[in-house]
């Protein structure tokens, strides 16, 4: 059993690498600086860190809802048999093909998993000033995950547990499965 899971992990890592190698790339600096501009703008518009956090997550959600189709279109994936498999796909294929980073899965159960990022292209060269110490700079990623998973019928709650910008060793995101959504056919005539 254990080696089956290991084999799947290795296969997914290879798939992630292969998919990333096929896509067009841009400088991580451009990406990081653009994100910085976005965050700066949000702080100006909302003035309150808590409100900015909510907005960042929402922006991530809007992105995630659209990003998942690209993952499904470009990486040939079979349907996930379990939530921990979903975790591996997200970490090894999703994060890899979009951000080019290696992400580890920790504490995976049938309803929860954690993602550990040692590299975070969003936050290159960033330092949070005193008044923004509670800013969830990487909160965008939480939103991306929530949006992406919702599009494939899973309602989740994501939270940023640790962030290197807060002085932590790694950036850690917890993903909690709340509900599997069953597809409903909406009859337009009714």
């Amino acid at each position: 059993m254990a080696s089956e899971a290991e084999r799947k992990k290795v296969a997914l890592r290879r798939l992630g690498d292969a998919t990333f190698s096929k896509v067009d790339k841009v400088s991580a600096e451009l990406f990081s600086l653009t994100y910085g501009a976005v965050v700066t703008q949000l702080l100006k518009d909302y003035e309150d860190v808590a409100a900015a956090n909510v907005q960042l997550e929402k922006m991530g959600y809007n992105m995630g809802v659209r990003m998942v189709d690209e993952l499904l279109a470009k990486a040939s994936l079979a349907q996930c048999a379990s939530f921990s498999e979903t975790a591996e796909v997200v970490a090894k294929v999703g994060f890899k093909m979009f951000l080019g980073v290696n992400v580890e899965v920790a504490a995976a159960t049938s309803s929860e998993f954690r993602l550990l990022l040692s590299e975070n292209p969003l936050a290159e060269f960033v330092e949070l000033p005193e008044e923004c110490s509670k800013l969830e700079y990487s909160g965008l990623l939480c939103g991306v995950l929530r949006g992406a998973l919702e599009m494939v019928q899973m309602r989740v709650e994501c939270s940023l547990l640790r962030d290197t910008l807060w002085g932590d060793e790694v950036t850690e995101i917890r993903v909690l499965l709340k509900e599997r959504l069953v597809e409903e056919f909406v009859d337009d005539d009714e």
């Binding site: 659209r66 998942v68 189709d69 499904l72 279109a73 494939v152 597809e183 337009d188």
Partner: protein, 147 residues
Amino acid sequence: MAYRPAREGNLLSLYINNRAGGLIFHRDFSPNAAKLDTNEQMQLASTFSGLALIMGQLAPSRPSSGMQLLEADGFLLQSFDSPTGIKFFLTAEPDAKGLDLVLREVYTYYADYVLKNPFYEMDMPIQKGGKFCQKLDRMVAQVQDRR
């Protein structure tokens, strides 16, 4: 486009339905394609969504992969559902091959040229004349050339 005799396996039309089963895109690739007006196209698309749903429910084993290929005398209809609920279906002349690959390619274009456009709203009709259409036409031209 010059008239090409049937039985060469040409692509006829592409339809894309949103998550609610409504038509958001339609394009004809051949003068042989059925000539339907907008209302007829929309009705056809939503009927197809309904039909696909019934097929899935009738399947002897669940979960079923749903309706993928429909063969009729005068044409083939190949369908692909994205895991996100978007339905892509293609009609083609009877000898057409590789339609499932064509649809997978269309899915890639959808991810690149529709979803990345900030001026596109999810589940809404896809505007004609943009990069999505250009990519489609180029792909169809390549596919037809190979025959």
